[in-house]
Symmetry: C2
Subunit: 207 residues, 2 copies
């Protein structure tokens, strides 16, 4: 399996990054050797540079993407051009516009890499095929989404019950890595406040 270039490399099958992925799968389901190799055969490796887009709104979301290394943000744009960060993604997270992927209609969301990011991807056809060949994968994705759903619910709740300051403090606790890696204005957007207001909050905290 040979790739042309460090940048934008793309390859299929068993690969250096596949090992840890299969190990991660074991947290959810148990696969036979054969099933593992079917899974591997459907997955694709890819690297993105900082700033590159995994998905742009208007395009159809062709892959579900598992982040091996790096980080991304999912965001969308209002009619007036303002951006809203919906979520961040880091190692061991899945990203993608589920609705667009399921219905193969244009996506509302953008997914952009914040660092050089290595991912594993699967496209719609291969995933459908994978579900057929390895039904346990239905369970795997059910479990993943279930977890993501619970997280989202908790987040909505917090938006309602906590002040911007408390939300920021919680964010710092939960994603300490992010504080380093992500520009502040994106964090503000994720928290649902303006960059200016986040700035004053930070000042308050440090005093």
């Amino acid at each position: 399996m040979i790739t042309n270039s460090v940048f934008n490399m793309r390859s299929r099958g068993i690969f250096a990054t596949m090992e840890p992925f299969l190990k991660y799968l074991k947290n959810y389901i148990t696969l036979t050797e054969q099933e593992q190799s079917i899974v591997s055969s459907k997955l694709t490796n890819r690297s993105y540079l900082k700033g590159q887009y995994i998905l742009q709104s208007g395009d159809v979301c062709r892959h579900q993407t598992y982040i091996v290394k790096g980080s991304v943000r999912t965001f969308c744009q209002d009619d007036d051009g303002s951006e809203h960060v919906i979520s961040f993604g880091i190692e061991k997270w899945w990203v993608g516009d589920l609705e667009s992927f399921a219905s193969q209609t244009p996506a509302d969301f953008n997914i952009q890499c914040l660092d050089k990011t290595d991912v594993i991807q699967i496209n719609r056809m291969d995933l459908d095929e994978l579900y057929r060949q390895v039904p346990k994968m239905e369970r795997f994705f059910r479990l993943i989404i279930q977890k993501a759903y619970s997280n989202l619910q908790r987040r909505i709740l917090r938006n309602y019950s906590l002040s911007a300051k408390d939300r920021y403090l919680l964010f710092c606790e939960e994603y300490p890595e992010m504080i380093q890696r992500v520009p502040q204005y994106m964090i503000a957007s994720y928290l649902g406040i303006t960059k200016e207001f986040l700035s004053t909050i930070r000042k308050q905290i440090s005093l």
Copy 2:
């Protein structure tokens, strides 16, 4: 199949409400006759009165609940006792505290019936067994949760990008039935605003 009482009736197996449920299942997966009867055998019918709780926070969420008729709200309480409505549920929706159900730990959420509500339920053990006997059900629940997840995401987005007034107008459009059935203060809570402010919004609109 005989039930003791109209209130709090509980029964198992094929039942008047089971037919429409199986029809609803067909929107997502195709089952053989035999599989259908296995599914039916795991499900339980139940009715709740207005005000009754399907789940109380602190208890373990023992069932996933499909609403045949009626409506519910899912909410939780802050330390200071204030309530936050996380979601409403009506006909053809599933409700339950997924996290509590999955891990069989105490729930954070309360689920309360807003009307007399007829439901179909399945408990954890039966669902595990059902997944084993009818693996297609994994797919079914994956699809359901996927949809719910997309909805939640859209909701978060709206909370960030829309004013309280616009959120209310959208709510009226999307859930016209709710406006009739649900007390205003719960809608306010769902929208993340106070009941007083919702009241002034409504006044504005009607002018």
